[in-house]
Symmetry: C2
Subunit: 724 residues, 2 copies
C-alpha cells in the first residue's frame, strides 16, 4: 500500500469537514427525538476533543454545554457547522456561516431537490450562497458523518470500532446495517463515514479522493444510488484504486430498482451494466449483492490483492469442498493444480484416505489434531502454482465438536495460520461453520487480520475480489496518449454537415472513419447513369449492395431503400431506379443525395461497435456480437473512452458468447487484434471531433484477417447541444 | 398442508429405522474420540427412551450401560443396529444382525464403493447379506441419523431444537453447518436427519418419502451430491411436493465441482442444469447457494406458498427499498401495483413525505411510532393486487436506535404482524437490519412463525421460493396418460433396422415421426435416374436440398453429402452424381441407400428438440434455440418424459432467449402451440419404442403457423444395450 502521512491528509479540502477542529451544532436540542440532540450526544459520548458550540436561541445549555443564540454569537469561528434545522431555514444559515468564516457545513434536512421543483430552487439558492461565502457543503439530506479515529461521530451510533474501512453511503439504513453487521462480527471497524445525500456541492468523487488520502482507511466502500458527476468519479476511482481497494455497491440494477431509486434520491441511475463495466475499468471492485459489501470490504482491506486466480482448498469434509469448487468456478477462479512434490508432502502429513488432489480433503486425519489443517495450508501455500489458500470446514469448532482438549491444538493451528498469512504474499481466507459461535481460535485469526467467514459463498466472493484487484494492478499501464487529432477531410465533412444542420451521410461517415485507418468497404456514391455505369464496371464480378443516401431517411430498409446481392449492370440499373422510386414514395420531401454501391461483404462474424456520450460518464464505447445476441440477450460490453488496447481486449473477453469470436461450428476465429485496433480508434473520435454525439458501426463483419465496416452512422450535435 | 397422523407414519418401512423402539450400538466405546462413544453419548444425553444395547466384547459397561459381547447375546432383538466398526467387519455383522432378527442397520464406516474396486466388492457383499437377512441399510459412510421428536440422536449434536425441518444431507459438515446456523438463529428446529452416505440400500427417494409421511416434518430439505436412482427420486418428489415443500441443494454445479464431487462420494453427478430442470418439474424448490438452504427451508416450512408473484414492500429507508426492488426483479417477482384506495389509506396513515407507490417508503413517519409499519403491512395485504408482503428496514431496532420507550410500540407492531400473518393467506416476510441483535419484537415474530431475515437477499430468495411453489401447486394437473403406443410402420422400421444391426436412416426416422403426427418436410428418396426425374417433377419450382442416406455416414456435410438450394432437373442430376462421388471418396465401404430430396425449408426460427436416456433420470426431453445460442450459451431446457403440455410450455418460457420465439427484428412470432405439440409427441416416443436410445431433431424450423423437422436422427439400442 502506498504510504500516507498526515501531511498528505492535510492537503484534502475535506480534512476540515471530516476531521474538524471545532463544530457548531445549529439547531442543537435537548429533545431526545431530535437529530440536534442525537448529534450532540454523539459528539459527547464519542469523546470528541474539539470545541462544540450548540446553537439554539431558546436554550442556555444543550446536554450541559453552553449554547449560543446564533452562529454570529459563537466566540470563535468553528471549522464546521452541523445544520439540524428544516430545509427552509438553511440558505440563510449558510449565508450566516459564510459571514462568520465557517468553511464547511453539513446539512441534515431533506426537502430539497429530491422533492421536486420548489425544493430544487431552494437547493440552488443554498448552493449559490455557499459558493459566495466560501462554505463547502455535505448534503443536504445526508444521514451524517463520522470519523472514528478523531472521535468525531455525529450519528450517535454506539458499538462502533475504529478500523480501516471507510464508508460513503447514500442510504442511512445501509450504514446502520453495515454497523450492526460489524458489531456482530466483533473485529471489523470503520474509519470515516459520509452520507453524501443530494451531493449538492461535494459528491462521491470528492469523498472517494478523501478516503484515498486518509491514512486510516485501507479500503473505500461506497453504496451509490447515483453519481453527480460520473466522469469525475471514474477519474477519482482510477487514482485511488491504484493505491487501495475501492468497493462499490451500485443500486438500481434493474428497471424496477431504478424506478425506485430515482423516486428516492432524484439521481439519474443510468444503465447498470454500463456503470458496472466503467467502474471495473477504473479499478473498482463492484459487488452485486448488498450482503457482500462488508465481507468484501473486510477481505480487501486486510489482504489487498491476490497474485492470481489459482486457489488451493483445504477441506475437512468432501461436501463443502465441492461447494467451494462450484463457487470458485462460477466466480472465474481455478482450482490450482498441485505439484507432485506438494501432494507428496500433504500425503506425508495426512492419512492414506486423504485426497491430496485439490480440493484437498483431509478425510478425518485432523479429527484428533486440527492444527494439521494449518500445516496443510502452509504446504499448499509453498506450491508455486498456488495463488491463494482457502480453508473450508469446521476449524475453530473441533474442541466443541470432538473434545475440549483440542482447544489448545486449534489455537496452535491458528497461530500457524497467522504466521503464514503474515509471511505469504498469497491471501489466506478461512471459512468455518463455527464462525457464528466465535470460538477463540477464530477470534485469534480475525484479530490478526486473517478474515474468517461463516459462508463459503462470501469467502469465495472475497477471493474473487482479491484476484480481480490483483489482475487490475498487474495490467500493463497504458502509455499516456497524445491528444486526439481530427483528420483534415473529417473536419471538413463535419463542418460541412453542421453548416447544413444535419449529421453525416453514410459515405461521409465512412470517409471520416477511413481517414482514421478504420477499414470500410470500398464504395461508390451513384447519382446518375454515368456514375452507375462506372460503379458497375468497378465492381464487375462481385455481388453488390445498394443503399439510399439521404439525411431524411434513417430507416433505409423501411423506406425500400436497400437492395442486396446485385450482379451485372442491368440489375444495378433496375435496383437504382427502384430505390429512388421507393424512397420518394416513402417521403416525398426527403432530400436524396444518391445511392451507395458497395460490394457484398463476405460472410464472417457480425459485431457491432458504438460510441455514445453518456449524461454522467461522458464518451462511452460499446461492443457486442450482432444479431439476436445483442438484441435479446444484451450481451455487450462498455468502456469509458479513450480505450487502451487492454481495455479493448477486455471487452472482447467479457462477452458471454465470446467463443463465437474464437470460431464455432467449424468457423474460423476472427482477427481480434484488428477488432482491438478498431475499438481503440473509434474510442478517440469524440475527442477528435467534439461535435460527434453518437456513432454506430452496425454491422461490422469480422474475418480471420481484418474486418469490414458495412454500415456506419455518425450523429452530430445540433446547435443547441453543442453550446459550450 | 395435507394432514398426517401416526397411523400414516407407521406405514413407512423407515419408521423402525428412524424412530426405533430399541437399538444396539455395535462397537460402542468408552473412548471419547470414537464414534461408538459419541453415539452412546447422543442417545443418553438426548434422552432416548427406548432400550439401548451397547455391543463390545471387551467391556462390561459403556457409559454406565450394560454391554453385550455380540449381537447374538443381546437379550431382545433390537429394532435397529448402529454399526460403528471398520468397513471390513461390516458384512459379517450385517449377516449376524439378520440372524438375530434386526430389521435395520446404520453403517458409519467409510471404505466402501467410494474408495475403489475393492471397496465396491465389500459393499456388494454387505448388501447381498443384508438382502438375504432382511436387513435394511442406512449408509455406509453415513454421518448418522437423528429424530428429535423421538429424542433419538446418534450425532451427539447439542443445542438442537426439535422443529419441523427434515434434513437429508450427503455431507456431514453441511448438517453441522445448518445446525449451527439454526442454533445461532434461535427459533429454527429440526425433525429428522439422515446422512444417506453411499445409498447402498436406502437412498434419497426412500428418505424423501419418509419425510413426506412424517407428521413432524413441514419441509423436506436435501443436500445432494448424487442420486442413486434419479427417476425414483423424481417420483417421490412429485408425490411429496404435492403435500409439503421439498428443498434441494444439488452440489456439483460446475465441471470443477463435479470433479470434486465424484472423487468424494463416487456418485454420478450428471448434468447440473438438467438435474435442476427435472427437479423443478417435480415440484422441488432448488436453491442455488448453500447459504440459502436454511432460510428457504425456514420460510417454506412456515409459510408453505404464495398465491402469486406480486410483492408489496414496506420500507423505512429508500436505499433498502431499492435493493429489495432490484432483488425482487432479478428473482422474477413483481412490485405489486397498489390500488388508489390502498394508496389513500397509506397516505392517511403516514405523513405527506411518504411515498405510497410500491415500494412504500414511510419517510420518517415511523421514527416515533414503529407500529405504523405493521399498520401499513395490513393495508397493503388487504389490496387484492398484492400476493405477499415484505417489510424492509430497521423494525425491531427502533428502541435501540431512537429511544428505549419505543420498545412497547415495537412489540405492539409485532403483535399486529403476527395477527396479520395468522389471518392472511399472503405470506408476510420481514427483513430487519437488527435481526442479528435479536431484539424482543423480532423474537416474538420468529416464535410466532413469521420469518425474520438479516439479509434482503435471503428474504427475497424465500419470497421467490414461496411464489415458485404456489405456481407449482396451482398448475393444471395433467390428465393421466394412456400408455404410449407405437405405430405399425414405425414398429416395422425399428424392427427392420435392429435386424440389420443399425439405427434408423433419416427417411425412416422421418417416416416414424410422421406416423406420430410430427410435421416433417415432404421428401423423396432417390436411388436412380427415374426416381431423380420423379423428384424433380414433384418439387418443380421449389429449390430443394439433397442429402446422402447411409448408415455409415454420420457427418453428411463432412462427406460432401449435402447440396442445397438446387433448382431444375439438370442441377439435381449434377448434385446427385456429385454427392454419390463424394460419399464414395469419403468412405469407399459406406453402404449408400440413396439421396434424400426435400424442398428447402423457408426461413423461420431454428430450434432443436432432443430426447435422450439419462443414466439416472431415464428419458429426458431437451429443447433449445438453434445455432450459436445452443452451442455457445447452452440456452436449453430439460424435462423428464413424458411431458404434459404445461411442462412443454415451461420449456419455451424458460429459455433466456425466449423473446426470439415472440419475434424480434421485425420477424413474426412462432406457433408455440405447434412446438408444444411437437415436444409432447416426442416425449412419448421412448415409451412407445423402448429400442430408441436417442433422438435428435436438428434443426426444426418454427413458423408463425406450424413447424418443419428438417433433419432427424433416431438411434436404436444395440443388442447389448437392450438386454433386459
Amino acid at each position: 500500500m502506498k504510504p500516507f502521512d498526515d501531511a498528505c491528509l492535510e492537503e484534502s479540502p475535506l480534512h476540515a469537514l471530516l476531521a474538524p477542529a471545532s463544530i457548531a451544532v445549529i439547531g442543537a436540542s435537548n429533545d431526545p427525538t431530535k437529530r440536534g440532540y442525537k448529534a450532540m450526544l454523539g459528539l459527547i459520548q464519542g469523546g470528541y476533543s474539539g470545541a462544540v458550540y450548540p446553537v439554539n436561541p431558546k436554550a442556555d445549555t444543550i446536554l450541559g454545554v453552553r449554547a449560543w443564540p446564533d452562529i454570529k454569537a459563537v466566540p470563535k469561528a468553528p471549522a464546521l457547522a452541523l445544520i439540524c434545522t428544516p430545509a427552509a431555514t438553511v440558505p440563510a444559515l449558510i449565508e450566516a456561516c459564510g459571514r462568520r468564516g465557517v468553511k464547511g457545513a453539513i446539512i441534515l434536512a431533506s426537502g430539497f431537490g429530491e422533492t421536486g421543483a420548489a425544493g430544487a430552487r431552494l437547493e440552488r439558492d443554498m448552493l449559490s450562497r455557499a459558493r459566495a461565502g466560501g462554505v463547502r457543503l455535505i448534503g443536504p439530506n445526508t444521514s451524517g458523518v463520522f470519523n472514528l479515529h478523531y472521535r468525531f461521530n455525529l450519528l450517535a451510533l454506539d458499538h462502533l470500532r475504529a478500523g480501516d474501512i471507510g464508508v460513503v453511503s447514500q442510504s442511512g439504513n445501509m450504514l446502520l446495517s453495515l454497523a450492526l453487521e460489524a458489531e456482530h462480527h466483533g473485529q471489523v471497524g470503520f474509519s470515516t463515514y459520509v452520507g453524501p445525500g443530494n451531493q449538492s456541492d461535494l459528491g462521491f468523487d470528492d469523498y472517494l479522493r478523501y478516503l484515498g488520502e486518509d491514512p486510516h482507511t485501507r479500503v473505500a466502500t461506497l453504496y451509490v444510488e447515483g453519481f453527480r458527476d460520473g466522469r469525475a468519479f471514474l477519474d477519482a476511482a482510477r487514482k485511488v484504486s491504484a493505491a487501495k481497494p475501492v468497493v462499490v455497491y451500485k443500486s438500481g440494477a434493474t428497471a424496477q430498482g431504478q424506478q425506485s431509486a430515482s423516486s428516492h434520491t432524484g439521481a439519474l441511475a443510468g444503465s447498470y451494466p454500463m456503470t458496472v463495466d466503467l467502474l471495473r475499468q477504473a479499478g473498482v471492485n463492484v459487488v452485486p449483492y448488498s450482503d457482500d459489501i462488508l465481507p468484501v470490504a473486510e477481505g480487501l482491506g486486510q489482504l489487498q490483492r491476490s497474485p492470481g486466480r489459482r486457489v488451493a482448498v483445504i477441506a475437512d469434509g468432501g461436501g463443502q469442498a465441492t461447494i467451494a469448487a462450484d463457487r470458485l468456478a462460477e466466480a472465474g477462479l481455478e482450482l490450482a493444480t498441485l505439484t507432485a512434490d506438494c501432494q507428496a508432502r500433504l500425503s506425508a502429513a495426512l492419512s492414506a484416505q486423504a485426497s491430496t488432489v485439490n480440493p484437498v480433503d483431509v478425510a478425518g486425519a485432523t479429527d484428533a489434531h486440527p492444527a494439521l489443517l494449518a500445516t496443510c495450508m502452509a504446504i499448499v501455500a509453498a506450491d508455486p502454482g498456488v495463488d491463494a489458500v482457502l480453508l473450508v470446514g469446521m476449524f475453530g469448532g473441533y474442541a466443541r465438536r470432538f473434545d475440549e482438549s483440542l482447544a489448545d491444538d486449534e489455537m496452535r493451528g491458528a497461530e500457524t495460520m497467522v504466521e503464514l498469512a503474515g509471511t505469504a504474499v498469497k491471501p489466506v481466507v478461512v471459512y468455518s461453520l463455527y464462525a457464528p459461535v466465535k470460538p477463540p481460535a477464530l477470534t485469534r485469526l480475525r484479530t490478526a487480520g486473517v478474515p474468517v467467514y461463516a459462508s463459503i459463498e462470501k469467502a469465495v466472493s472475497v477471493l474473487a475480489a482479491l484476484s480481480e484487484r490483483g489482475a487490475y494492478l498487474d495490467r500493463p499501464v497504458p502509455p499516456a496518449l497524445p491528444p486526439a487529432v481530427p483528420g483534415s477531410r473529417g473536419q471538413a465533412l463535419v463542418a460541412g454537415a453542421r453548416a447544413k444542420g444535419r449529421s453525416l451521410l453514410e459515405p461521409e461517415a465512412k470517409a471520416l472513419l477511413a481517414e482514421h485507418g478504420i477499414g470500410v468497404l470500398d464504395e461508390r456514391l451513384v447519382r446518375d447513369a454515368d456514375e452507375l455505369a462506372d460503379a458497375a464496371r468497378v465492381f464487375a464480378g462481385t455481388p453488390v449492395a445498394m443503399k439510399v443516401v439521404s439525411p431524411d431517411i434513417i430507416h433505409k430498409s423501411d423506406a425500400g431503400g436497400v437492395a442486396l446481392n446485385l450482379e451485372g449492370e442491368a440489375a444495378l440499373a433496375e435496383a437504382y431506379a427502384g430505390i429512388l422510386r421507393s424512397a420518394r414514395e416513402y417521403d416525398s420531401h426527403a432530400r436524396i443525395d444518391g445511392v451507395l454501391v458497395t460490394p457484398m461483404a463476405p460472410k464472417g462474424v457480425e459485431v457491432i461497435v458504438g460510441l455514445m456520450r453518456d449524461d454522467t460518464f461522458g464518451p462511452v464505447v460499446m461492443f457486442g456480437l450482432g444479431g439476436v445476441l445483442v438484441e435479446v440477450l444484451e450481451d455487450v460490453a462498455f468502456r469509458a473512452a479513450p480505450l487502451s488496447r487492454e481495455d479493448a481486449a477486455g471487452m472482447l473477453e467479457q462477452l458471454k458468447a465470446r467463443r463465437v469470436l474464437d470460431g464455432v461450428r467449424g468457423a474460423p476465429g476472427v482477427d481480434k487484434d484488428a477488432l482491438i485496433d478498431l475499438l481503440v480508434s473509434v474510442s478517440r473520435l469524440m475527442e477528435a471531433y467534439p461535435d460527434i454525439t453518437e456513432l454506430d458501426l452496425n454491422p461490422v463483419i469480422a474475418y480471420p484477417d481484418g474486418y469490414a465496416v458495412v454500415d456506419a452512422r455518425i450523429l452530430l450535435a445540433t446547435d443547441e447541444e453543442s453550446a459550450p
